[in-house]
Structures are given as C-alpha cells and as structure tokens.
C-alpha cells in the first residue's frame, strides 16, 4: 500500500523502518529506570516513605527488563543474528554498547533482588515441603544463613547494588535517547537534550506506573494504601514531570526561536502530522492536566481526603503514562514522517493490527511483564513484609 505523501520525498524515505516496536522499547526501559529509582530511593537514600513499595518497585523493574529485548528482536530483520551485537560489536556504533549495558544492568538487578528476598526465600523453603521446598532451596543457592550479622551484610550489599544500579539504569535508558540524539541526519532527533529528555520522562513513567500498580495491588490484597507513600510518589512525579515537560518544550522553543532550516520541517510536523499526538496528548492532555492535578495533590494534599488524593494521583499517573508513550511515539515515528529531502512528508502512519510489528504484537509484549509480575508476586510476595510490619501496629491500643 502506498502511503499518502505530500511534497517531495526521497524515494526510499516513504517507509517507516522503525515501527511500533521501537516506540515500545524505550517505553519499557523507561518504566524499568523509573521503577528502579523508586526502589533505590528507599534502599540507597533511606526514604522511608517508599518502604512499602520498594520491593514491589524492584520486582516491577525486573519484570519489565526481562521483556525489554523482545520488541527489539521482533523488529530485527534477522533476530537470529542479534547476538552478534554482543559477540562481535562494532564499537564506533552507539548501538554496539547495548549488549554490555543491558547484560550488566540485568545482572545487578538480579543480584539485588536475590539479596533483598534472600531471607524470604529461606523462610519459604523452611516452611514448605516436597517440590516447593526444592524450588525455594534452589533459589536460596545453598545459603541458609539468616543471622543478624548476615542480614546486616545483606543490607550493605543491597545498598551498594542499588547505588550502582542508579547510574546503570540511567545509562541503559539515557543511551536509548543518545541513539536518536546523535544522528546528524535527522533534525527532529539530533539534539544533546534527547538523552536527558528520555531520562526524565523515564522517571515520570516509572513512578506513574508504580502509583497505579501499588493502588491496584493494595486493593487486591486488602492492605491499606499508605498515605505517605502516595504523597511522596506524587511529589516526585510532579517534580520529574515538570523537568521532563520543560525540557521537551525547551527543545521546541529553541528550534522555533533559531528559525533554522529544520524549523520549516518541524513546525509543519508538529502542526500537521503530530498535531494530535504532540500538541493534544503530549502537551495538553498528558502534560498540562496532570501538572494541575498533581499540583493539587502536592500543595493541597494534607487537606484532602485519602480517597480523593489517591484518585487524583491515579488519574494523573494514567495520563502521564499516556504522555510518555506519546512522547516516545512522537520521537520515533515523528522522526520518520518527513523525508531527509526536507521537502516532503508522509501524512499518516497507522500500524497494522496483525502485522509482525503491529498492534497485537505490541499489546502481547506489553502485557507480558504484568503476567510476570503476578508470577513473581506468587513466588516471592513483595508486600509480605507489610503484613509483618502491620501486625504489631494493629495490636496497639
């Protein structure tokens, strides 16, 4: 099918090579980076507000990281050769660092999870029999020391891993921004702000996801939603969304003010091809509205009923999750809607439902981490420590 075109495009420029999968990849790694940050705010910086969901955040980061390579492999023309990026990397390419970054971050995350859940694993092994016991015993890797001293060492290691995990998570995600930002061929991508914008929006999406998932998990488990946790998450979310939106606007404003050659193309892109996904969704519905709602939560929060605050935080988070997705879409797809001839545009791009890289594949990939999270929760309950913590408090007069 020949897409609708206007102006003059280089004849090879009518194709969208980087599809929905490449939109999904930075979206997923962004959620990983954001969720990891929340867990590290507790484990490294000791922010007690995040204690109730620090483990859950870690599990969320892990489940999303586990599927992060799937959209990439699905995108590759030759996924069976994908391993060559790690085996025979061509280091002049920014993409060649991917394997190294992904693998090292994955190992750090895996190690941190093991240390965080180590005592739980041992207790579960002790409390079960048969196959279940063998399974947990295998997870414990033959270490059954739960003494006070061992736990203290655990905590030190966790703090160390969580600390080096922060720059690693930032690298893994900021680097995706760099892949786009360092291409001089494309004026919509080529800006040193790109990795920074990607990073801040990653924090936004990760925190927003946790606000949503935490509330749902508490509803399912019948635990109370911690007022402090939501308030703290909303505060950080507001901060990061302001940073993210400011940078996104700054890029546009600079381009507009400079009135350089590329602005002719980009202004047309923003007001035509991306008018809905950029102006309506990324800026207004997903930007301005959650900004106001979160401002209410942050500034007026203490006077608010818990339910109202939770609902406002929930709505803003859902809108921001959409905002970050539209930002990824606008970068990845937007950058391919115009030709490098700087004279022509592709009018629309609608991914097919059943295509290899289509909507259904994207939905299937995006749903997988939630299923993984449910399995993780069944194997290693992330809120089990709340029950323990809540038990003595409920006995208090």
């Amino acid at each position: 099918m020949i897409p609708e075109l206007t102006g003059f495009l280089f004849p090879n420029d009518v194709h969208i090579h980087w599809s929905l999968m490449i939109v999904l990849y930075p979206y997923i790694t962004g959620l990983v980076a954001g969720a990891f940050l929340v867990s590290s705010l507790y484990h490294v910086f000791g922010r007690e507000d995040f204690k109730p969901l620090a483990r859950f955040a870690l599990a969320t980061a892990f489940c999303f990281l586990a599927v992060a390579t799937v959209p990439l492999l699905n995108h590759l023309g030759h996924p069976e050769r994908g391993i060559n990026i790690i085996v025979t990397p061509h280091f002049t390419s920014a993409m060649a660092g991917f394997g190294l970054l992904y693998a090292s971050y994955f190992i750090i995350l895996l190690l941190e999870i093991w240390f965080v859940f180590r005592v739980d694993i041992i207790q579960r092994a002790a409390a079960s029999t048969g196959l279940k016991r063998a399974f947990y015993a295998a997870l414990a890797l033959g270490v059954y020391d739960t003494s006070e001293e061992a736990r203290r060492i655990d905590e030190k290691i966790i703090r160390f891993l969580a600390a080096i995990g922060i720059p690693m998570a930032c690298l893994l995600h900021g680097y995706v921004g760099f892949l786009f930002g360092a291409l001089k061929s494309n004026p919509w991508w080529s800006t040193p702000l790109m990795p920074v914008i990607f990073l801040f929006s990653a924090m936004v999406s990760g925190i927003a996801l946790l606000i949503v998932l935490y509330q749902i998990a508490m509803k399912i488990k019948g635990f109370p939603i911690e007022r402090g946790a939501i308030a703290a998450l909303a505060r950080w979310l507001w901060l990061f969304m302001i940073m993210s939106l400011t940078l996104e606007l700054l890029e546009i404003m600079t381009l507009s003010y400079e009135r350089a050659e590329e602005w002719e193309v980009i202004s047309h892109l923003l007001t035509h091809q991306l008018s809905i996904s950029f102006i309506s969704i990324q800026m207004v519905l997903g930007g301005l509205i959650p900004f106001i709602l979160l401002m209410l939560v942050v500034v007026m929060g203490r006077y608010m009923d818990d339910r109202i605050r939770n609902t406002l935080a929930m709505v803003s988070s859902l809108l921001l999750l959409m905002q970050v997705f539209s930002m990824r879409w606008n970068v990845v797809i937007g950058g391919q809607m115009f030709s490098k001839s700087m004279r022509g545009f592709r009018e629309t791009y609608v991914p097919g439902l059943f295509e290899k890289e289509g909507v259904l594949a994207a939905v299937a990939i995006f749903v997988t981490p939630f299923i993984l999270l449910a399995i993780f929760e069944a194997v290693l309950p992330t809120f089990a420590h709340l029950k323990r913590a809540n038990a003595p408090t409920s006995n208090r007069p």
Partner: protein, 265 residues
C-alpha cells in the same frame, strides 16, 4: 604430506628436540593452519575461479562524478540499476530528481517512480524560470555515518572506497538507513537486510563501469579512479568546480557534482 600432517608428525612424542625448536615448530604449524583457514574463508571456491582474483583493491580509489547539466531524465540509469542489481520494486539504489524553479515562489521537485520511466511534460502550470534533472545515488562518503552506526560492522568501506553491506552479517536493525542523510539505503524485504548502491562492485572489480554509467546516453554519469593519473574524471575533478551534496554534514562524499543548484539537497 599436507601441512597439518607434517605438523603432527614432527611434533610427535618420539622426536627429541629443544624447547626452542618445539616453540618454533608450533608457531609454524599454527601459522600454516591460520593462513590456510583465512584463505579458505576469504576466497571461497566460486571466487577462486573468477577473474576478480587479480583485482588489487589497494591500486584503486573509485570516485563518481555527475554532470547535472547533461542529464536528460530518460531514466535509463534507474532501469539499468534495477536490472543489474535486482533492486526490489519501490526501492532505489539510484534515482533522478526533477527541479522546476518558478519565476516566483517555491521550487517544485518530483521524482515519479524515481524517474525510472522518464518524466512527463511539466503540468504544474507555473511559469518556470529554470528546470533541471539531478541524478542521485549513494555518495560512498569517506566519513560515512552509515558504517559508523552499524552495530555489527556489516556496513563497511572497502580500501578502494566503496561503501558496502555484507548481507550475511547484517542484522536488519535499520540504524544505517536512519543515519544516511541522503536516503540512499533501504531494507530489502526479501533478504531483510540493508541494501544500497555498490557502484556495481561486481563490475568495477572486473574492469567494467557501473551499470548506470554504462547506459547513460549523454555522459552525465562518470566513474573514475583517483589512483589513475590519466583518468578523465580525475582531470575534471582537478580542473572543474565541483560540489557535493550537503557538504555541511562533513560526510566527505565521493560522489561529486557539476552544476549543482542551491535548491538541491
């Protein structure tokens, strides 16, 4: 006795020798095996029996020159390229752009089917001040961003200056397509790998010209060798005023243009 047999026999346990002898022989054996292996890899059977074997890529430095003032937009080059290189429909290794600069207003540019079937008469209705054709192809840039970004080194520059893609190594990520500022690359839907103009590498290494140069009826497309002092293209590059596409990107194209207009990007 083959190299391998000799190696194993001489280093057998019954032969008394000094440590130095042993090391020497081991090195010789390893060298023989390695060189045998390398020759086996870089010279597969189908190439060994071919005249390309005599080709020395150190003795050439290919360069392409387009005289836009001569192009008549017949499209023979685009057709020849498709036939010669089996270019899939809708993809282009070379194409022709038509520029119509009106007395007033914006330039009108088109390239219907990449100019493959030639061009119809102007129907835009505007009063045209000047008009011209510009043939385009991969610029085989010396500082090319496309090979820089290839994560597995499947895109590479040969010593004689051609930028090629090894479709046995290409993973089909499309990064090179995004990095090329000239729109010269495409993803071959059959091989699912990146593809582009090779300057007909299979022809030039046999002493022939690229197909597009061969068929151009007006000599608008020229191909030369910078290492050959008698080459007429070299002479033109030395004496005429030449331009490259998007020089501000500093990709150092090795495809030069005569009579390029400021409207051309």
């Amino acid at each position: 006795m083959s190299e391998k047999e000799r190696c194993s026999r001489e280093s057998g346990p019954g032969v008394a020798k000094s440590r130095r002898d042993f090391l020497k022989q081991s090195a010789a054996c390893a060298g023989a095996v390695v060189s045998f292996g390398v020759v086996g890899i870089i010279l597969p059977d189908d190439v060994l029996g071919d005249e390309t074997v005599d080709y020395d890529w150190n003795k050439h430095r290919w360069v392409y020159l387009v005289d836009t003032t001569k192009c008549i937009g017949c499209g023979a080059c685009v057709r020849a390229c498709r036939a010669e290189n089996d270019v899939p429909e809708g993809m282009y290794r070379t194409w022709i752009e038509r520029y119509e600069i009106p007395v007033e207003g914006e330039a009108h540019v088109d390239s219907p089917n990449g100019g493959e079937l030639g061009f119809h008469a102007v129907t835009s209705g505007m009063e045209v001040r000047k008009a011209f054709f510009v043939p385009k192809l991969c610029n085989h840039c010396e500082a090319t961003p496309c090979t820089q970004v290839c994560p597995v080194g499947a895109s590479y520059t040969t010593r004689d200056g051609a930028v090629l893609v090894d479709d046995k190594r290409c993973i089909g990520c499309g990064y090179c397509i995004q990095a090329c500022p000239y729109g010269s690359r495409y993803l071959n839907p059959t091989t699912r790998t990146a593809a582009k103009c090779t300057w007909c590498y299979h022809r030039i290494t046999k002493g022939l010209k690229p197909a597009c140069v061969e068929v151009c009826p007006v000599g608008a497309r020229m191909f030369g060798d910078r290492k050959n002092p008698d080459d007429p293209v070299n002479e033109m590059l030395a004496t005429r005023r030449v331009q490259v596409l998007q020089p501000e990107l500093l990709t150092k194209p090795q495809c030069f243009y005569l009579g390029l207009d400021m409207e051309v990007r």
